[in-house]
Assembly symmetry: D2
Homo-oligomer: 343 residues x 4
């Protein structure tokens, strides 16, 4: 089968023929319908310091976001059968640790990541632990199915801050931020304030339902959020930027008793005055490392199946698998959209 | 001023000229823009056994649902000024009891009800404790403002069961049930299953966003809810019927671990098998006596202000205050809509 | 090996030699250290209508509460090894249904019960799915380990109503009720009001930390609870009686905004006035079907390991396995204590 | 009457005769039984930069923690009468803002502090808004009543992290930290790990129920917490140190999915790696600015009234009001205990 393989340290990857995967206990073989490029793939593709320090053994097939069809079922698999339409959760839990035994397998102590610590899905076929293959409704288009992993993170953030009828800021309008805007819209958030420094991305945010867009290269977004809420501040903010200065503005724009849901991963430490921004304000900060398995999937599938969650504008490019180099190029330029690769 | 007065025991009321109210400490005088007829008004109008046993002293001005303008402010009032546009919360809390001091003033131990234990709002003017007059956005039409009290109850139920992305049944499509359908729609509920025995009401439910309507005079609604959710049952049901047999069907249609939000007031005891319907299923039942003061109002105002909560189809009749007899007549026939009286 | 076997319909069981169990995928063989008699065992022993209608196939080895040592590990078992000290959760989840995939495997849609739908633990050895064998600290005495299953239910109820610093009523002082008193004491409940009709049991409740005992054959317990809380009512009640009249008194004694945790299984429907007892009061009712797997186990183990949860007075009889008939006899007379059988 | 007055900028204060306070609407006059010295008093006493920048107008009577008897009731006060035994909440809410109207008056947008923005309680008498004077049981000794304000903060932190049966670290064993240890003990926390650099304070922590004490000048407390919990990390930590390096160690010692309750006010920004410490771990951080009004007071009163919350070892010095200089001296040396001043 064909696969996009990262063979050696250094930039880039190659498309080549590789052996079909052989299933072990508890695994399924899936035929990829569509896959999507994520920032993590980019890290590995360019082989930056993050990639060099993350226990990634080469050669490896890239990719972890996909929709697929189950074509073979390994021994001991009960919840899936051939023909099932699935999307993949990247989190591979150990099933034995404290968190796995207490309803938090998505933050397993021994968490492995599909497509990072295993071969991934930029290929015709892939094998994956059955626990990570989530059945989804046929009504979901494969290109949308390919991005359920990041979309789930965006949905989860809205569940945590209970967006309905609230004023919500979304900081950072890359793909996950834009999806968080869509999810806020689907949940019935009243005010959706999208913050970014890029007008193109803010334009997409507007299309997806943002009630106001704030270009934080032009105004202090913290002050603006307070102003737009008549001096009270927003009920919650969702950070998908990982930009420490933007996050600090989020705290400034938050009302007393508000919530901060953090998805983004800053490249440097956040310097925060706990007294004014957390203690006196009684801020609740919630770290979000992807989807709850599988409450988030259920909510997301339900919404998509009923047409209540529109993320089409986030998918800006659909390429053939062979065009992966072009795809990584487009994604690196970062115009906010997701790039889909179809095998 | 003109007011609809219940003068004596027995059916009916009269429109007559009465003295303008005189404000006490902490009260405001409001000029009524629009008022709405509620089931409670009906009880008092016909003077049924409920009315006879609820410490209501006559003569009394009827009505407790209204939108209004503040025209005079009594001593000690800080949060309102002349010209403010308000709707009224019916709950008059004592401010001193355990519940009032612990964030639950809407279930005050010494709760009095505006328009039941005091003179009400079917009049040109009314006086009301300032704590019960809630400022609302000017964007809300007075006729809609007049029904925020029941609408808030419907919104609250959706907050309690966290409807977003969930499958929700609404049992009983009288005005509050219909509003619960609207609120479920606004919150992004995925499946909204409206249950009633009246096809006219179910038709309105459909218009308001119900994904399925179930005429429970024709099918067993409990079985139907299970069927429509592929055998799992709904995530939650909201009862606005007060019909014990319909409520039992709600429990049957609920999934294990589901939630039941109860608004309706049955006229007879519910006979329920706790083992199968509550304990083994781990059902959570939540009693709802109106709006939280004032978290619910905030969410509701935000949604209405942004046009996210459409209840126009619920308001079926707008009459002059003088036509109150006709209004009570229409309401008693119970075709599901709210009747508005405009002074 | 020796086992207590229910061979035929009709009263009673026999001790006999049976084949050692043979392990399947995912199972472990355990050597029983101590087992405890539960009401469910009693139902099966006397073969009442509940037993006749619960898909129990005979012959069957009785018993589901036990502490044990793992002596053999079946294929595919990862979380246990020979020599582990375990107690058993009776709930056998399917691992595939909506609830199992959403952190609620203890209320699995296809739940089977160890010792009811499988052979049980009144024997020298038993086999059990590995998922149900929970490692516990060596500091827990085997006789205590044998009753962790019901104790977990009692602990869970206190988690749900958040007993710390609150006024809690425990209705019914059979073994689970008494354990709920102990757990309330461990959690730092301020007022612990134990209700029963049996002074012997109330005496044990007092020893375990009840601040007040109420003999409900002599006073109206609902009124008494209100009186003991200066007219406010208790913050929560935990029902372990399954007695409908006692449960109604619990609702009467509950404060507005209070919580009711229901464990007991009434033999007839509860007739309840939803208006006064649930809606106007905004009561939250929580059905409890045993332990969360495994959050409850973690809390319980921690407490026991530190000596913070004393249930010794609940264990009133320790017999040899051979004396099981005597044990069932004692349990049937219902003096409140647990009967332990040691193989 | 006698009062400790801060007359001018600069270090120190004087005891002098001042006029009796005159009550306004909604205020009560209280006769002080006992008062306690807090860090904030110290700031004002030495007139450091915090004091210089906090809108404090001089001259002012110092002190905000006290127990007292109501001796006069101002106009409009309904919840108190002469003779009531009270303690004081320092938070003076406006009653009108978003937070005040939504059950969060303790984080009012226009919050004033008793004894900071008003005259305080290091005096024979004081006046205070009735809303801040909380009736407490007569069973509470006046010296204990004097420290309910900080004790409530410590109790609140335990409510937020739900300590019962959990492993809890308390970082910083000054008075509030020590009280947090006591509260964790009262709530039935299983592991209570007290962290400080001072062995004297750690000794008091041990007396109050800490299961382990960690001198963080000798070991890395983060690593130690992980070690003491068999590699998992603690369920929650409560920071009462305000020391950024200790707080970072708290995050390191926290389990995935754990909670951090922050009370302490660092004097410099915290530099934190959000990725590893918050996002990947899904940490929930909760800012705590004192007590909820008045849920926390209810829980605290209940526990104290039943003898379940022992803080006697925290009260290390009881002086006469005249000895206030000596009191400030002792407190400044910071040996962990509270200093009480009795008028």
């Amino acid at each position: 089968m064909k696969a996009v393989v990262k063979e050696n340290a250094g930039v880039g990857a190659v498309l080549k023929d590789v052996e079909m995967p052989i299933l072990n206990e508890g695994e399924v073989l899936i035929k990829i319908k569509a896959a999507a490029i994520c920032g993590t793939d980019q890290h590995i593709y360019v082989w930056n310091s993050w990639a060099q320090n993350n226990s990634i053994s080469l050669p490896a097939i890239l990719g972890h976001e996909c929709s697929a069809e189950v074509v073979e079922v390994g021994p001991g698999v009960k919840n899936l059968k051939v023909g099932d339409y699935v999307a993949c959760d990247t989190h591979i839990p150990c099933g034995e640790c404290y968190q796995c035994r207490n309803g938090q397998q998505h933050i397993c102590q021994n968490l492995k990541l599909f497509g990072v610590h295993t071969n991934g899905c930029f290929a015709e076929y892939s094998k994956i632990p059955a626990v990570c293959a989530v059945k989804i409704p046929k009504s979901i288009h494969p290109n949308v199915g390919a991005v359920l992993e990041p979309l789930g993170t965006a949905v989860r953030a809205n569940v945590e801050v209970q967006s309905s009828g609230k004023n919500i800021a979304v900081i950072g309008c890359g793909p996950i931020g834009l999806m968080a805007v869509s999810a806020a819209k689907a949940f019935g958030a009243a005010g959706i304030f999208a913050v970014d420094i890029n007008d193109y991305r803010l334009g997409i945010a507007k299309k997806l339902g943002a009630t106001e867009v704030i270009n934080s290269s032009q105004v202090r977004s913290g002050d603006k959020l307070v102003e737009l809420t008549d001096g009270t501040g927003v009920d919650a903010f969702i950070d998908a930027s990982g930009n420490t200065s933007a996050i600090l503005d989020g705290f400034k724009g938050l009302r007393k008793g508000g919530k901060a849901a953090l998805i983004g991963l800053p490249s440097k430490p956040l310097e925060i005055d706990l007294g004014s921004q957390v203690v006196f304000k009684e801020t609740t900060i919630i770290g979000i490392h992807g989807r709850r398995m599988f409450e988030t999937w259920t909510v997301m599938s339900n919404l998509l199946d009923k047409g209540l969650l529109n993320i089409d504008p986030v998918i800006t490019h659909v390429l053939k698998l062979e065009e992966f180099d072009k795809g990584f190029d487009i994604a690196r330029k970062g115009e906010g959209g997701k790039v889909i690769l179809v095998p």
